[in-house]
C-alpha cells in the first residue's frame, strides 16, 4: 500500500470557534492506483488533498488521524523530514499554472531547483534532466524552451511545465488539484491524456481532486465523493457512476445534462451545501435529501460496506452487505 489515510480530521480555529473542515475521513491508495476526490466547492476535497503534505495554512491544522505514506506516518514528521518528501516522493499540481510558476525565473531555474534541493546533482546534470522531463511532457524544442519565462508559453504549455516540475523527481504519488479546470476543453483533453500516459509509464499513484465527474470517470480507478467534510461514497469509478448508492451522488449525476432527456427540466438538488459554521444535526445531507426519515435527522451515518464489492456509502437507506 502506498498511502493510507486513517480517521483524518482538519480543524480551522476561527475567531467564532473551531470549525471542522474534514470530519474523520479514511481512504487508501495502492502503488500506481488513481483515486478521484470529487465534490462541490466547500466539500473539503482540496483541504483533504493538501493535508497529506501538511500544506494547510493557519488557522487550519490537522487535529486528528494518521497518514501513512510508504509505511511512515507523515503527521508525526517534523517540517524538516516532511521537506524531504514534498516535491520528491509526493508532488502536487495546482489549478492555475500562472500562479504556480514563478514569473521572474526561467523554466530551467525553477525545474533544476526542485531536483537539486533533493538530490546531489551538478547544474549540468540537473539541466539535462529538466530538458528530458520537458520532452516527456511533449514540449517541442525543450532545449530552447528551458531558457524561456512562463509568460512566453500558452496556458496549455504552462500546465505541461507544471506537470514536468511535479514529475522531475520521479515521485511515487502526484496530488493534482483541479489540474484542468482553468483550461479549454481541447487543451483539457490533451492534459488528461498526458497525465494518464505518465501515470501508467512511471507507475505513479494519482489523487485527482476535481468537481467534474466526467473528468474523473475517464481518469481514475476509484472515486471518493465528498460532501460537507466527509466521504459519503467510495468505490470503483464505473460502479460509482453506474450504480451510485448515496442519494447525493445520485443527485449529482442526475443534475448533469444527459442525452436521454434533452430539453427537459434537469433533476436539481434543492438548496445548497451547509456552511461549516452551522452544520445540520444527524446526516449533513438530510436537509436536501429526497428520501430522509427521522433517523437521518438524529443520527450521523458512517461509511458502511454495501452489496457491491469494494464499495462503501454513508447512508442509512443503502442496503448493507
Amino acid at each position: 500500500m502506498l498511502l493510507d489515510v486513517k480517521n483524518l480530521e482538519v480543524t480551522f480555529a476561527l475567531r467564532s470557534g473551531p470549525v471542522q473542515a474534514i470530519r474523520n475521513i479514511s481512504f487508501s491508495l495502492d502503488r500506481g492506483e488513481r483515486l478521484g476526490l470529487v465534490g462541490e466547492s466547500g466539500a473539503g476535497k482540496s483541504v483533504a488533498g493538501f493535508s497529506i503534505l501538511n500544506l494547510i495554512s493557519q488557522p487550519g491544522f490537522i487535529s486528528g488521524g494518521e497518514i501513512f505514506f510508504e509505511g511512515k506516518n507523515l503527521i508525526k514528521m517534523s517540517e524538516k523530514e516532511l521537506n524531504t518528501i514534498r516535491g520528491d516522493r509526493i508532488s502536487m499540481i495546482f489549478q492555475d499554472p500562472m500562479m504556480t510558476l514563478n514569473p521572474v525565473l526561467t523554466l530551467g531555474t525553477q525545474m533544476t531547483e526542485i531536483v537539486r534541493t533533493h538530490h546531489k546533482l551538478s547544474k549540468k546534470e540537473a539541466r539535462s534532466l529538466a530538458i528530458e522531463t520537458l520532452r516527456q511532457v511533449h514540449i517541442p524544442t525543450p532545449e530552447k524552451r528551458i531558457d524561456q519565462y512562463p509568460h512566453e508559453l500558452s496556458g496549455g504549455m504552462r500546465q505541461r511545465v507544471v506537470i514536468a516540475c511535479a514529475l522531475i523527481s520521479k515521485p511515487a504519488l502526484i496530488i493534482a488539484d483541479e489540474p484542468t479546470t482553468a483550461l479549454d476543453v481541447t487543451i483539457q483533453a490533451e492534459i488528461m491524456d498526458l497525465l494518464l500516459e505518465l501515470c501508467e509509464s512511471e507507475n505513479m499513484g494519482l489523487i485527482l481532486i476535481t468537481h467534474d465527474l466526467s473528468v474523473v470517470a475517464q481518469m481514475t480507478d476509484r472515486i471518493a465523493v465528498m460532501y460537507a467534510g466527509k466521504i459519503v461514497e467510495i468505490g470503483k469509478t464505473q460502479q460509482v457512476i453506474r450504480e451510485s448508492q448515496h442519494p447525493y451522488t445520485q443527485g449529482l449525476l442526475k443534475a448533469l445534462p444527459q442525452k436521454r432527456f434533452i430539453g427537459k427540466r434537469l433533476n436539481q438538488i434543492d438548496g445548497s451545501m451547509p456552511s461549516l459554521l452551522s452544520m445540520p444535526t444527524g446526516c449533513s445531507f438530510h436537509p436536501r435529501c429526497p428520501i430522509l426519515d427521522d433517523r437521518c435527522r438524529a443520527e450521523r451515518p458512517s461509511l458502511q460496506d454495501c452489496r457491491l464489492e469494494g464499495h462503501q456509502a454513508a447512508c442509512f437507506k443503502v442496503e448493507g452487505k
Binding site: 476543453v185 488528461m192 465527474l213 430539453g263 433533476n267 445548497s272
Partner: protein
C-alpha cells in the same frame, strides 16, 4: 418568419497599442510607429429567431463574449449591421437606443462581480424599471419586485438584504431577476452558469428554461460547456478565432458535426460513460487574434487543409436546411 435579431458581417477590432511611446518601434534603421490591434470578430453573420435559444460556443479568446456585448451595444462595431426586428440598431444615438435596451437584457457570468455590493436587492431590481419605465409608481415597482423575486425562487422578504448575504446560486437568480424586471423579449446570457457548482447549475438552467417558456423569451446563450448546449440549444453557432465555423441545429451538430474544428471540439468533451479519453488530437496551438493566419483561420491545425485553405477565407455556406459551414474541405467534399 422575420428574425428577432439579425447580425450581418460584424467586425470588432480593439486597438491595444497604448500610448505614443509604446507604439514606436525600431525597424530597419528607422523608428516607425506601429499600431497593434486585436481582431476579435471578423465578419460574423447570424440571426436569432423568436422563442429560440441560440448557443454560441468556442474556446477562450474566440470572441464569443465580444459578439454578445457588441450585439447589445456595449461595444461599437467597426463594421457590419445589427438589426432588431428589422430596425438597424448599431448606429443609433444613446437616446434612441434606450428603447431597445429595455427589450434586450443581459445576464453576466460572475454573480459576485455583476451585482453592486453596496446596493440592496431591492435597489438592484428597481434600477432598470426607474430607467426604462419612468412612469411606474412606487407601488407598482414594489409589486413587480416581489413578483419577479418569486418567479426566480428568491423569497421577496429578503429584498432588503445585500448581495454578500446570498450564495452564488442565489445571486445568479437575482441577476436573472434584474434582467427580467423590464419584461425583455431577448436575453443575452454570457456564461451564466460556469461560475456555479454542478447541483446549482441544474437549478439555474431549469430557472432559465422555465422563464423562457412562461415569457416566450429568446436567448443568445454564450458558453464553453457543450453538454449544456446539447441540452438547451435550439441552434448552435461554433466560433473559432473570431469567425463562425459552423451554425446548425443542435441535433444535427451533435449527430454529425461537419467542420473539422467542431469535430475536434465535440470529441474533446469528457463523457461519463467512457472509460478512457478518446479525442481527435489537433496539432499546434490557437494563434493569437493579433496576428491572424491568412485564409482560413483554422488551416494550420486542420487535418484536411490544403493550398486553397491557406489563401482563401472560407464563406459560411448553407449545405442543407439549418446547416451552415465555413470550410473549403466540406464544400469540396474532401476526405
Amino acid at each position: 418568419m422575420t428574425p428577432l435579431l439579425e447580425v450581418t458581417n460584424l467586425y470588432k477590432h480593439f486597438d491595444i497599442s497604448g500610448g505614443l511611446l509604446d507604439q514606436l518601434q525600431f525597424e530597419g534603421g528607422r523608428i516607425v510607429r506601429k499600431k497593434t490591434t486585436v481582431k476579435a470578430i471578423n465578419g460574423v453573420s447570424f440571426d436569432v429567431h423568436p422563442g429560440e435559444t441560440l448557443c454560441m460556443v468556442g474556446e477562450s479568446g474566440c470572441g464569443k463574449s465580444t459578439v454578445a456585448r457588441t450585439v447589445l451595444g456595449l461595444y461599437e462595431p467597426n463594421q457590419g449591421e445589427i438589426r432588431y426586428k428589422g430596425e438597424r440598431i448599431d448606429n443609433l444615438p444613446p437616446s434612441k437606443m434606450r428603447a431597445f435596451r429595455a427589450k434586450m437584457q443581459m445576464v453576466f457570468q460572475d454573480p459576485y462581480a455583476s451585482l453592486n455590493p453596496r446596493m440592496k436587492v431591492q435597489q438592484i431590481l428597481e434600477e432598470p424599471i426607474k430607467i426604462h419605465k419612468a412612469a411606474a409608481t412606487s407601488k407598482e415597482i414594489a409589486e413587480k419586485i416581489s413578483e419577479v423575486m418569486k418567479d426566480v425562487g428568491v423569497d421577496p422578504h429578503w429584498k432588503n438584504r445585500y448581495p454578500h448575504e446570498f450564495s452564488g446560486g442565489q445571486r445568479q437568480r437575482i441577476s436573472i431577476a434584474r434582467a427580467l424586471m423590464v419584461d425583455p423579449e431577448f436575453v443575452v446570457a454570457d456564461e451564466p452558469i460556469s461560475a456555479l457548482d454542478v447541483s446549482i447549475q441544474a437549478q439555474i438552467l431549469n430557472l432559465m428554461m422555465d422563464a423562457q417558456e412562461e415569457r416566450n423569451l429568446s436567448y443568445l446563450f454564450i458558453t464553453h460547456d457543450l453538454s449544456v448546449v446539447e441540452h438547451i440549444g435550439t441552434r448552435v453557432a461554433v466560433m473559432y478565432l473570431g469567425t463562425l465555423c459552423e451554425l446548425s441545429s443542435t441535433r444535427k451538430l451533435f449527430e454529425s458535426p461537419r467542420h473539422p474544428y467542431t469535430q475536434a471540439l465535440l470529441s474533446a468533451i469528457p463523457r461519463l460513460d467512457e472509460e478512457k479519453p478518446n479525442h481527435i488530437k489537433l496539432k499546434g496551438e490557437v494563434p493569437t487574434p493579433i496576428h491572424l493566419p491568412s485564409g482560413c483561420v483554422f488551416h494550420a491545425r486542420c487535418p484536411l487543409a490544403n493550398e486553397r485553405c491557406k489563401q482563401e477565407i472560407p464563406k459560411l455556406l448553407t449545405i442543407e436546411e439549418n446547416l451552415q459551414v465555413a470550410c473549403h474541405a466540406v464544400e469540396e467534399q474532401r476526405d
